[in-house]
């Protein structure tokens, strides 16, 4: 298998982006007709825009993102979730799969519960709304949560979900990866340990070439090659 290797350009805030004929995209700004980086990250050109893919920083919610949230507060008609972003996000009673009477919220979800939700909307003032109405969104019971930088999430998932399938296949764990860098893992204690080790390796070596292969051989070392399906 030949992967196309492109030399990545690491930029810091204030760097001039050599991007003739491109429009200023995410993580950039325009000044005196030139485009500059506003963020520490990797320069990426896509569909006529030059963007900066951030290497760190807080998760910024986007509609449609799946996020794992911790309930930190509760009101008569909503729950407040902490989703690793600058803003706490409310989940209203009309966005859950149950009919909840006013003031009856604590019967369904309580403070310290962990939920798999989706970002429903983000308005211009960055107010976030969550939903739990779609199929599969729910309160998470059991298992463990691991946190990684949200910028490493695509690596943990892999191309077409290849990385995450690999980990699930070997460890037999159930997993959900939230776009906000929270990962839920459930299974046998030792399998959870192994899954966490693998995820930490991916986080540490996210930029290294041939990551899928080295993760596969790490898992094979633990489980033997037979577990691959």
């Amino acid at each position: 298998m030949v992967e196309e290797i492109v030399k990545r350009e690491l930029v810091v805030p204030g760097d001039l982006l050599d991007a003739p004929d491109l429009k200023a995209g995410v993580g950039t700004f325009r000044e005196d007709g030139k485009i500059y980086a506003a963020l520490l990250g990797i320069k990426s050109e896509r569909a006529g825009y030059v963007n900066i893919v951030p290497l760190g920083g807080k998760y910024i919610p986007r509609p449609g993102d799946a996020v794992i949230g911790n309930i930190v507060d509760i009101g008569p008609s909503h729950w407040l979730l902490e989703i690793n972003s600058p803003y706490p996000a409310p989940l209203h009673t009309n966005e859950v799969p149950w009919r909840v009477e006013y003031g009856d919220t604590a019967h369904y979800l309580d403070v310290k519960d962990v939920c798999l939700t989706k970002v429903l909307s983000v308005d211009e003032t960055k107010r976030v709304q969550l939903t739990m109405k779609e199929h599969g969104l729910r309160k998470l019971n059991g298992g463990q949560i691991v946190e990684i930088s949200h910028s490493k999430v695509p690596r943990v998932i892999g191309k077409k979900g290849s990385m995450i399938s690999l980990i699930k296949g070997f460890t037999k764990c159930r997993m959900f990866v939230g776009q906000n860098g929270r990962i839920w893992i459930d299974g046998e204690v030792d399998d959870i340990f192994n899954a966490i080790r693998v995820i930490k390796k991916i986080e540490d070596e996210a930029q290294v070439m041939g990551l899928t292969e080295s993760v596969a051989s790490m898992l094979e070392e633990i489980y033997g090659p037979s577990r691959v399906e």
Binding site: N70, V72, V111, K112, D113, V114, L140, N141, G142, G143, Q144, I145, V189, F193
Partner: protein, 256 residues
């Protein structure tokens, strides 16, 4: 000192604990990697930076001359303070020390004072008139659990490289002599398991905590039980014995 921890994480740590396991796969009596950088701060009379896993503290000693306490006219004075600065954790706030910082400073202080780590009589300049005041400041830079031990290792480490600045008072600088090496070992109880050197998550779900300072002769010189749970008589005995064993090892690292 932590904040809220999700129920799921609490349950996971308890489930592991019931099998004698820990979330970071350490053995129950295993410390995180310990690194001590002595003499980190040149403006201090003595200092040590301690990395205990991802916990990071800097301890500095400043000395000055002043009046002794009336009841100990021929002894120097030790003043220990801790600052839980907001750099170290999103849960720490600016402002005067609150109860957690005060407890931390007092526990570290006791471990040193009661062992007579330093012979305070050697810090007398003129009995009843002038003695050395020794300010021990605990500066927390990154909080990932077990500040008690990190700070007490730092305090001892700082004492071992302290030079008394007597030349500022027309004397001659001299090296502070460390007579005893009390080492503080903190254990927590989670369910029925006992773990040494609690991580931040373990600290947040622990039922009870016990800090024991033991010197090189096996004498216990300071203790502090914390949190709302309890220990049985036998558990206390076990915690102390394990602390003695681990303490011997860590003492050598601090002397290093």
């Amino acid at each position: 000192m932590g904040g809220v921890i999700p129920e799921l994480t609490r349950n996971h740590i308890h489930r592991l604990a019931s099998a004698g396991k820990r979330a970071d796969s350490r053995a129950p009596d295993e410390f995180r990697p310990l690194k001590i950088e002595k003499d980190f701060v040149k403006s201090a009379e003595g200092s040590a930076r301690v990395h205990l896993g991802k916990t990071d503290v800097l301890v500095g000693i400043k000395m000055n001359q002043g009046e002794p306490y009336p009841d100990t006219p021929n002894k120097g004075v030790l003043i220990t303070s801790a600052e839980l600065i907001p750099m170290a954790s999103p849960k720490f706030e600016s402002g005067p020390p609150r109860e957690n910082a005060i407890e931390l400073a007092r526990v570290v202080d006791r471990g040193i004072r009661e062992t007579e780590t330093v012979d305070m009589e050697k810090l007398c300049v003129e009995p009843g008139e002038k003695v050395w005041l020794m300010f021990l400041d605990l500066h927390i830079l990154d909080y990932d659990g077990n500040l008690f031990d990190a700070c007490s290792f730092g305090a001892l480490g700082a004492l071992t490289n302290t030079v008394v600045p007597a030349s500022r008072f027309n004397g001659e600088d001299f090296k502070l002599e460390v007579e005893h090496y009390p080492v503080s070992i903190t254990s927590v109880k989670i369910g029925s398991s006992i773990f040494q050197d609690p991580s931040l998550d373990e600290e947040m779900v622990a039922d009870a905590r016990l800090t024991v300072a033991i010197d090189e002769n096996g004498n216990i010189t300071a203790m502090q039980k914390g949190l709302s749970g309890s220990f049985t008589f036998d558990e206390v005995e076990r915690v102390i014995e394990l602390a003695r064993i681990r303490g011997n090892e860590i003492r050598e690292t601090i002397k290093g």
